[in-house]
Subunit: 230 residues, 2 copies
């Protein structure tokens, strides 16, 4: 089956590094699904305003090329050492690299959908929008519920602090939430003094981690279009 | 993006007619996802046994050809008259005809997965299996929840009774559940005396509906391979 995008996601996360690994971890971060023709006249979303949440089916378009997909992957949550079956994980490296995210519906417009809680990089191709059905999309009341090795959300692992000069920045509250999940790959933990950076909401963000104190300090928040000296 | 099946569903529903319109309506009906090579060695499902539920991404392979897909559809739940946006429904007639169903995990074997509650026709191509994550795949506790026009499961609309000769048949309990949802298209309701049939679990099932009494009577349950006279 061949899938064609019905829209693209526009949001603050400009790259994979730093983007939350599952939806709902940063519940207030907003994004927009921009619909493509012929789905952008308002007809295709008629009735959607009655739903609190929708599923987005999307493509993992930033995957490094791995060919063919492997049967096992190493989930970051397990420290990157243990291998699990790809169908037991939500890894982006899947036989068919389609992702699934539940997001909140904030606003329904003829050619776009404003959503909150998305864990998707800006530019992500969206293949389908499906309404969340409260009675079909969760276990029946009383059924056993088990989330395997991923039964609980990742704990916020780091205390996020801000260097003088960037404290009080308008982006500080959401950065506090996003960076607390420690975007570093497991093998870089303990690499003291290293400077990390990511692009977020039109800004370049830089930080350092003190692994002993479990503290992350944001040292710079720079407008990406400001090309002059600091 | 091009999707290739990673397996096929094998189950009792032999045709679209009579197959439940959403998962979980017939929670005890079992089906099997038969994995295709190279995903059938056991590696790809390692760790899946810890999860109570999985998502199946599958193809609506029995759609009548409609080309191109339309922006609006007529949900059976609204009597087949009102048009809603395709992204506000779970209609199989979608721009990208990929379906999403939550099913219970009953047994994990190297080359197959036994599941319960699937609303899928025998032979359905499966494109992905994703573990259900209790903390990411449902609204956050306390968030507003709304299911629009489909906020509640369809009510069982018909009392299902069995004619003498078929009462006590081993398939009777599950047929009672399946047929109570009234598989007829809305425009055929009220068509008294008409004989309906479907293939189910290797049997031909026949019934009639008395719309005044809201009663469905199963009149025959015949083994499909029994070719002799009744």
């Amino acid at each position: 089956m061949n899938l064609a995008p019905i829209g693209h996601l526009r949001g603050p996360f400009a790259e994979k590094f730093g983007t939350p690994r599952q939806p709902g971890l940063v519940p207030e971060v907003e994004a927009v699904v921009e619909l493509l023709a012929p789905w952008n006249t308002g007809d295709a979303v008629r009735g959607l305003e009655g739903f609190s949440h929708v599923w987005l089916l999307f493509g993992f378009h930033l995957n490094d090329p791995v060919s063919p997909a492997r049967s096992t992957v190493r989930p970051p949550r397990l420290g990157g050492n243990e291998r699990l079956g790809v169908f037991a994980t939500r890894s982006p490296y899947r036989p068919n690299p389609v992702g699934l995210s539940l997001v909140k519906v904030r606003q329904v417009l003829p050619d776009r959908l404003v959503v909150a809680g998305a864990d998707l990089v800006d530019g992500t191709p969206v293949y389908d929008i499906k309404p969340w059905l409260p009675w079909a999309d969760r276990p029946v009341q009383g059924e056993r519920e088990g989330g395997g090795f991923a039964g609980a959300p990742p704990e916020s692992q780091l205390e996020v602090i801000f260097a003088p000069g960037v404290e009080g920045h308008p982006l500080a509250p959401e950065l506090k939430q996003i960076l607390s999940f420690d975007p570093r790959p497991a093998y870089q933990r303990g690499d003291a003094g290293r400077l990390y950076g990511m692009a977020y909401a039109g800004h370049e963000i830089q930080w350092q981690v003190d692994d002993k104190k479990k503290q992350l300090q944001v040292v710079a928040i720079r407008n990406s279009i400001d090309k002059g000296p600091e």
